[in-house]
């Protein structure tokens, strides 16, 4: 990687003000990773613009000097997406945190991309509206990051993921040009560029403003928590609920190891620690008929062997039942210092056998796997806990994780459900894409980013040979 040109920092400072350009190597250390601790590469500088104009000037400066531009939101990503793996400058959106417009009558809002997911929902709640996609990290992650990762969340089973709610994007392209894709709630009479940009993982440009569709808050909610002796029983309950034609807003499973971590934390949700799995089922919508649906689901759970089913009687109880699920990842820090958060999707019907294979792989590599998953859509997170200071264990984690991915792909699934490819899963891309398909991806990126400077080294492998990088490579990017 090349050293930054001598006047680059001054030019950036001229664009955003000297306080918002960070170049001191010690200070850059905190930007060396996101929530996926396995990858650590510090950027050469960080710039924090406050609006689209500043961001565009920053991009222009970087374009002139041909320096890589890496977008970063809150750094809660789980695939190393916001790291300057090929060197360059991180452009953070932490100061772009203003809600620009809430238009309740048209159920839309326009926000700067650094606005936090929950802040948007909180701001629209007085109008009886919310922003539906609810990643478990919603209190911390940004709308821009959600757009880039096409994030899902527990309630996306019924509501659909981010892409369904983004109607317009203001984007600063890698050369500094600013464009609106879509917007004003209208269908663009051309290619669906908004759809193309959502999920682009920061490789097409920096989204600075986002127009979103809002959803009415549900009139009523019914939440159940079912406790099972085994993970398989919980899986069977999910299958019967879905095949009976019930449409829950969420169907979420946590396994024994996860329950243990949650119950040891301040978010203890009262899940019994000797249970094999806990299933959260939620229905929402109009009041009429909701209770019956919940009752049916309760019967299915019992038929599948649930030893206990709890039903939330109040909003507080509902929050309590959810707490254990929503904070599950974070609490795993209690099991071991490091966590490899995995993310794969398999056809729902294949879940039981995939889970059995994962358990077998974990046993064989003597590793502890904690499963959390959006069972309704087959998106599973087999998380491996480990200690990165133990090099031998780290190697086992890498090997096991590769096998787990293989099992998911073989079962007709894919390598990511919602956390993206980033720097972490590039090496698995050839498992699901042919060389021809990868070439198409490269060409699409080339349209937005002809110089290959926007978040380089992510998503699409640059060459044909799959990279063999381990999860604990530490590449110092200091020049």
């Amino acid at each position: 990687m090349k050293a930054l040109p001598p006047n680059l920092l001054e030019e950036l400072a001229a664009a955003v003000g000297p306080d918002w350009v960070i170049s001191d190597p010690d200070r850059l250390l905190v930007y060396e990773s996101d929530a996926q601790t396995a990858h650590n590469v510090a950027p050469q500088a960080v710039v924090l613009p406050s609006d689209t104009d500043q961001a565009s000037q920053v991009a222009r400066v970087l374009h002139r000097h041909q320096i890589p531009l890496v977008p970063r939101g809150a750094g809660t990503g789980l695939s190393g997406g916001a790291l300057a793996t090929r060197g360059g400058v991180v452009v953070g959106t932490s100061r772009m945190n203003k809600i620009l417009e809430v238009d309740p009558s048209n159920r839309r809002a326009v926000v700067q991309s650094g606005v936090l997911n929950t802040d948007l929902s909180d701001a629209t709640a007085p109008h009886g509206l919310h922003y539906a996609p609810d990643p478990s990290s919603q209190a911390a992650c940004t709308i821009g990051g959600n757009v880039a990762e096409n994030s899902g969340g527990p309630h996306c089973l019924k509501y659909g993921v981010t892409s369904r709610y983004i109607t317009g994007l203001r984007v600063v392209l890698p050369d500094g040009t600013t464009v609106w894709l879509g917007g004003q709630g209208r269908e663009a009479p051309s290619f669906d560029l908004v759809g193309l940009f959502v999920g682009s993982e920061g490789c097409f440009g920096l989204a600075t403003e986002v127009e979103v569709a809002l959803t009415p808050l549900p009139e009523a909610v019914e939440t159940l928590l079912a406790i099972f002796e085994t993970l398989e029983d919980a899986g069977r309950a999910v299958t019967s609920i879905v095949s009976a034609g019930l449409l829950p807003a969420a169907l979420e499973i946590v396994d024994r190891n996860t329950i243990k971590a949650v119950e040891a934390s301040i978010f203890a949700a009262g899940y019994p620690t000797d249970a094999g799995a806990a299933l959260v089922v939620e229905f929402d919508g109009v009041e009429a008929g909701l209770a019956e649906e919940a009752e049916k689901a309760e019967e299915f759970c019992k038929a599948a062997g649930a030893r206990e089913v709890r039903r939330a009687e109040s909003a507080e109880e509902r929050l309590a039942l959810w707490k254990g699920r929503k904070k599950a990842f974070g609490t795993m820090g209690r099991l071991a210092p490091d966590l490899l958060v995995q993310d794969a999707t398999v056809p729902r019907t294949r879940l039981p056998e995939v889970l059995a294979s994962i358990a077998e792989i974990a046993d064989r590599y003597q590793l502890q796997v904690a499963n959390v998953f959006h069972a309704g859509d087959g998106n599973l997170h087999p998380n491996i806990v480990f200690d990165r200071r133990d090099a031998e264990e780290t190697r086992r984690v890498e090997a096991a994780s590769k096998e787990i991915m293989g099992v998911c792909v073989d079962a007709g699934g894919t390598i990511t459900g919602e956390h993206g490819v980033g720097a972490d899963k590039q090496k698995y891309m050839h498992l699901v894409f042919s060389p021809g398909e990868l070439e198409v991806l490269r060409r699409v990126k080339g349209v937005f980013d002809p110089d290959g400077r926007c978040n380089p080294g992510k998503v699409v492998p640059e060459d044909e040979a799959p990279s063999e990088a381990g999860p604990n490579e530490r590449t110092e990017a200091k020049s």
Binding site: I22, D26, D34, A74, S94, I266, G330, G333, R334
Partner: protein
């Protein structure tokens, strides 16, 4: 350096508990205002980890700047799903950095005065005399915010803020009469309680200590005078002087043990948090560690103490009040409901919710003086949100917060009084004729 690192290394497992999820970023007052992850809890933990791993020098100016900027409010701890004990990590880290770089004059001087039985009383006497002249209030209102003068203004405002507020009209009788009925049912009867007087609280806010004593007696507790007690050591621990904090803890253990108390009532959230943590502070001291555990287990915030099984009702107090939660009560001691129930128990009192009541007021010891710009911003936000409630009184249970918020209100020339919640209960007892 090896020696100093020991403190952080001991915490290594706790550092490694951080899974970098980022949940703590939005609640951090410094990150939410500066937007730089180096000023976020996750960033600070990352720095500490880098120190342990030898990737950054304890003397690094950058490291020190960003650790110094931490308010120590521990809001990050309240939301951390992984149970990272940030407050303890910070104390360890500050001890390491304090050994590597020289802290500023004030940070060195203040803990020394507070710990000294010969320096503290004259210093407090001076402050009281100054307060009596009315000069601090004038200065706090008139002089500009900028530069050195701004710091003087804040200091004077803090002193002025400790003056007796108008809503409490005083005129106390000497004796406390226990309520005719019901007092036997209260846990109070027979429970021996000592009160931590504190350093600043005793010197400038003695009225809060007196109110605490009256209210506890009225609720049937047997008060025991505890001589020989001193400063709790919180400020020492927070500024990297763990050694000094330990000395003070030993002194307090001796003093409180000697009186064979059941419980110790503390009305300063920062002191309560520090004393509950004596067990950790002295965990390596073979002679004192069990005694520290014993005392720590008896420490109760006064609102916590009174919450069980119920508070004796007093007379009506027609006031609109808003409550600001001290960080060291809410985040460090996880006491959220008790002060609110205490206020709700007062008839006639209208409690108006304070938006952002769970965010630091910017007091954080002497933060406003060491970080005038950022501290000023945090503190102004708090004052504005208090003024927006339209309440006549703001109640908060920590002398540092009372003084910081009070100084902010003085500077605005606002007619809002700052009191400790216990003072409102005390006033309602007086009006209800429980004292004579």
């Amino acid at each position: 350096m090896k020696n100093l690192l020991r403190e952080l290394k001991k915490q290594e497992e706790k550092l490694f508990n951080c899974v970098q999820c980022g949940f703590c970023l939005p609640v951090c007052p410094t990150y939410s205002r500066l937007g730089d992850e180096a000023d976020s809890p996750r960033g600070r933990i990352h720095f500490m980890r880098a120190v342990v791993e030898g990737r950054i020098e304890p003397a690094s100016e950058t490291l020190n700047r960003h650790l110094d900027r931490c308010l120590g409010c521990r809001a990050c701890e309240s939301v951390c799903p992984s149970g990272v004990e940030y407050g303890r990590l910070l104390e360890g880290a500050r001890e390491v950095t304090a050994g590597a770089v020289k802290p500023n004059l004030l940070t060195r001087l203040l803990p020394r005065v507070m710990a000294s039985p010969s320096l503290l009383p004259p210093a407090m006497l001076l402050a009281r005399a100054l307060r009596a002249t009315g000069f601090p209030r004038l200065v706090a209102l008139r002089i500009p915010d900028e530069g050195f003068l701004g710091q003087v203004k804040l200091g004077m405002g803090m002193i002025a803020a400790t003056a007796r507020p108008e809503v409490l009209d005083g005129g106390w009788g000497r004796n406390v009469i226990k309520a005719e009925t019901g007092s036997e049912d209260l846990v109070g009867a027979g429970v021996r309680v000592g009160i931590l007087k504190g350093c600043v609280q005793d010197g400038l806010l003695g009225r809060v200590n007196r109110a605490t004593a009256r209210v506890l007696e009225a609720n049937g507790y047997g008060l025991v005078e505890v001589g020989g007690q001193g400063c709790c050591g919180a400020i020492h621990a927070h500024t990297g002087g763990l050694g000094g904090a330990r000395d003070l803890a030993l002194k307090n253990i001796e003093a409180f043990e000697a009186r064979e108390l059941d419980l110790v009532a503390v009305n300063a959230a920062g002191c309560g948090a520090a004393m509950k943590d004596y067990s950790h502070l002295l965990a390596d001291d073979s002679e004192y560690k069990d005694r520290a555990v014993n005392l720590a287990g008896r420490i109760r915030d006064v609102s916590e103490l009174l919450s069980h099984p119920g508070i004796l009702p007093g007379g009506a107090l027609e006031l609109s009040v808003t409550y600001d939660a001290p960080c060291h009560l809410l985040h460090a001691q996880r006491i959220a409901e008790e002060p609110i129930s205490l206020l709700r128990s007062i008839s006639g009192l209208e409690l108006i919710p304070l938006p952002g009541h769970d965010e630091c007021c910017g007091g954080a010891g002497i933060y406003g003086i060491t970080h005038p710009e950022l501290g000023g911003r945090i503190s102004r936000d708090k004052v504005l949100s208090i003024l927006e409630t339209g309440a006549q009184v703001v109640a908060t249970g920590n002398p540092g917060c009372m003084m910081q918020i009070g100084a902010g209100l003085e500077a605005e020339g606002a007619n809002v009084d700052v009191v400790h919640p216990i003072e409102l209960l005390d006033e309602s007892y007086r009006r209800g004729g429980l004292y004579s």
